[in-house]
């Protein structure tokens, strides 16, 4: 492991362009994080095509920069505009915005930046500690366990999406799209309708560009005006950031509890950042005895969710890298980057490309610190982006998105796919169908089918074999638990009433 770490450090030191790519990722991540509704997922979708010509490690460095920085960017909009840049930043609004109204925006931003950076670093430490153990655990997994694991990833994400039935329907659509193309196991062309373009299946990148970048632009077009609609740019004043940073060091228990909650929750597929930051916020508000002013502008109400929000990145990389199970839309896109660069997530990745993983870990650690500095230096200017008329952002993002979609295979078919999925993505927003379950199903589909067929071959067609394999049975119990959770929650709600 130390050898891999040395190699990774050398990689950063030997080529200055790697640092440039990281810085690019950080700047773009912060910028997209600040703009409410866009966030890291859209940034990765938009920049995916730019990485085609890069070395795999450079690509994951840039994407690591985005992953590690978008959450910090999101906290700026949450504090100054009461409009969370990304969903997990919503908990920061509770105390961040009241602080802005009290003229303490600088303190809140300083605290958010310091808490995010420390939380991010703790998340990275957790990743380094847990990853070697995970490798041994993953090696114990056979096809039945992998099938159940994919099922768990899908189920927990569908449950977390808020609308179980529509989440499942979106997952089914994702799985069906995943079937398109030549099936090398059975030697059949599936859903290709005689088209050569569909022989290799529908490429993931144009779908992601459509579902996230283009759909968000259509939404913005219909809403119109500036992104930040209810805030006043002239009233934003920043002072006291240093005081905010110091307040984090005087509230270290809150930082640690938030970071640990974030890391653990991040490891569970489908639960992700929003849950971790809200959990951390409620934990801090319940267990703070002294001067508890949560909800009225307490700096600990900013520290707790921000520490959790950034710490979850390290945790969520564990299932993504070790099992190929992305825990969020951002991780699904990140998985796409890995696959595109010939790095198939799973146990072999941890063995064969350990140094590449180390590159990612260093990139994440550097990104959390660099993005903190960027936000401190440019928060006031960054937030101005939210006051830009959406008519300026929309055509540029649409055009660049389609250029990116085309660049993948130099085929107009990919452009049409991106536009079609832009329409589908918008419709999914309108009719409240979660896009994330479609993407996760698309990513997990082939692994699910392959491990299902392998398992059926091992069990000679007897599906009860899934329950004779101990690991598979344990994961199946977790699937049932994930399914039972919302039902139990509803029953509890009814009984309480």
């Amino acid at each position: 492991m130390l050898e891999s770490l040395d190699l990774a450090v050398d990689f950063f030191l030997s080529d200055w362009t790697t640092i440039v790519y990281l810085m690019m990722g950080v700047l773009i991540g912060v910028l997209f994080g600040v703009i409410p509704g866009l966030g890291g997922t859209t940034a990765i979708a938009l920049l995916l095509p730019l990485t085609f010509g890069m070395q795999a490690e450079q690509a994951i460095t840039m994407m690591g920069g985005i992953v590690g920085s978008s959450a910090i960017g999101g906290s700026v909009a949450a504090i100054l505009l009461n409009a969370p840049g990304t969903a997990p930043n919503a908990a920061t609004c509770f105390d961040g915005y009241p602080m802005t109204r009290q003229g303490k925006a600088g303190i809140a931003i300083g605290a958010a930046v310091a808490a995010s950076s420390i939380g991010g670093l703790i998340g990275v430490v957790v990743l380094i500690v847990v990853l070697p153990i995970t490798r041994n655990i993953v090696l114990m997994f056979g096809p039945p366990a992998f099938f159940m694991l994919a099922l768990l990833g899908l189920t927990s994400l569908t449950v977390a999406s808020g609308n179980f039935l529509r989440g499942l329907l979106a997952a089914c659509v994702g799985l069906v799209i995943g079937f398109v193309g030549y099936d090398d196991m059975g030697g059949t062309q599936r859903y290709t309708f005689g088209s050569d373009f569909l022989w290799d299946g529908v490429a993931l990148v144009p779908i992601l560009i459509g579902l996230f970048a283009i759909a968000e632009m259509l939404k913005l077009f219909v809403e119109g005006g500036a992104i930040a609609k209810e805030a006043n740019a002239a009233k934003i004043k920043l002072a006291g950031t240093w005081q905010g940073i110091k307040s984090v060091f005087s509230n270290m228990p809150t930082v640690f509890s938030g970071s640990i909650i974030g890391s653990i929750v991040g490891m569970v597929p489908g639960v992700g950042g929003t849950v971790s930051s809200f959990l951390s916020y409620s934990f801090a508000s319940q267990f703070t005895r002294k001067n508890n002013h949560f909800g009225k502008g307490d700096v600990r109400g900013v520290i707790a969710p921000e520490a959790a929000n950034n710490a979850k990145d390290g945790g969520s990389l564990i299932p993504t890298l070790a099992f190929g199970i992305p825990g969020s839309a951002e991780m699904a896109l990140f998985l796409g980057v890995l696959i595109m660069h010939g790095m198939t997530p799973g146990p072999m990745l941890l063995i064969e490309r350990e140094w590449s993983i180390m590159v990612l870990i260093i990139a994440l650690a550097l990104a959390t610190v660099m993005s903190g500095l960027v936000v401190l230096a440019a928060a006031r200017f960054l937030v101005m982006v939210s006051f830009l008329n959406s008519a300026i952002i929309i055509p540029a993002v649409l055009a660049i998105s389609l250029v990116g979609a085309y660049a993948l295979n130099a085929h107009m078919g990919d452009v049409i796919v991106a536009v079609a999925f832009g329409f589908i993505g918008y419709m999914m927003i309108k009719f409240d169908y979660p896009r994330i379950t479609l993407v996760i199903a698309l990513v997990l589909g082939s692994m699910m089918e392959r491990s299902f067929l392998q398992s059926m071959t091992i069990f000679r067609g007897d599906w009860t074999g899934f329950f004779s394999d101990t690991t598979s049975l344990i994961i199946f119990c977790l699937v049932l638990l994930a399914l039972a959770f919302p039902v139990a929650h509803k029953i509890r709600g009814v009984l309480t009433k």
């Binding site: 010509g53 329907l169 077009f221 219909v222 300026i392 055009a399 452009v415 419709m427």
Partner: protein, 150 residues
């Protein structure tokens, strides 16, 4: 605010589309062999069941709870315009290629939809095409679709 009233729950529309998609997928999968068809056929069955359930829920709401949908005419008009602009972008790329489209589309969008001045529209259009040219053509050396008209 002008609105149009639909006498049913709007959720019926995507549910019907999904049901048709599921049935079509399942039907096609019947022709495939055991290995290629097993999983799609199984999934198709589940998909049809779920889509029927979703359709049933909305049908029940529409018939027994008299659920209806109010469509804001202004929002609907904006949606059509949004799809129109997206369709225009696709058509322009096909006819004129990427480089010409980026500059022309950004300019037209800013001028006609955003009502920006000629100066602002031209500046942003040139900035956008410069970005595409520098990053995709020069730095990454991609050959972009030239369009069928040239």
């Amino acid at each position: 605010m002008k609105t149009v009233r639909l006498p049913f729950s709007a959720g019926i529309i995507p549910a019907l589309v999904l049901l048709a998609f599921a049935v079509g997928g399942w039907w096609i999968a019947q022709e495939w062999g055991r290995s290629s068809g097993m999983f799609p056929r199984f999934l198709g069955g589940v998909f049809i069941g779920l889509a029927t359930l979703e359709l049933g829920i909305h049908a029940f709401k529409s018939v027994f709870r008299k659920a209806e949908t109010l469509i804001d005419s202004e929002e609907f008009r904006k949606q059509l315009f949004g799809f129109g602009w997206l369709g225009l972008l696709l058509l322009m790329i096909y006819l004129l290629g990427f480089m010409v489209t980026v500059v022309l589309y950004v300019f037209l969008f800013l001028r006609l939809h955003g009502r920006f001045s000629y100066l602002v529209s031209t500046s942003i259009a040139i900035g956008s095409v410069a970005f595409v040219y520098l990053i995709f053509r020069r730095l990454l050396e991609y050959s972009l679709f030239p369009g069928i008209l040239w």
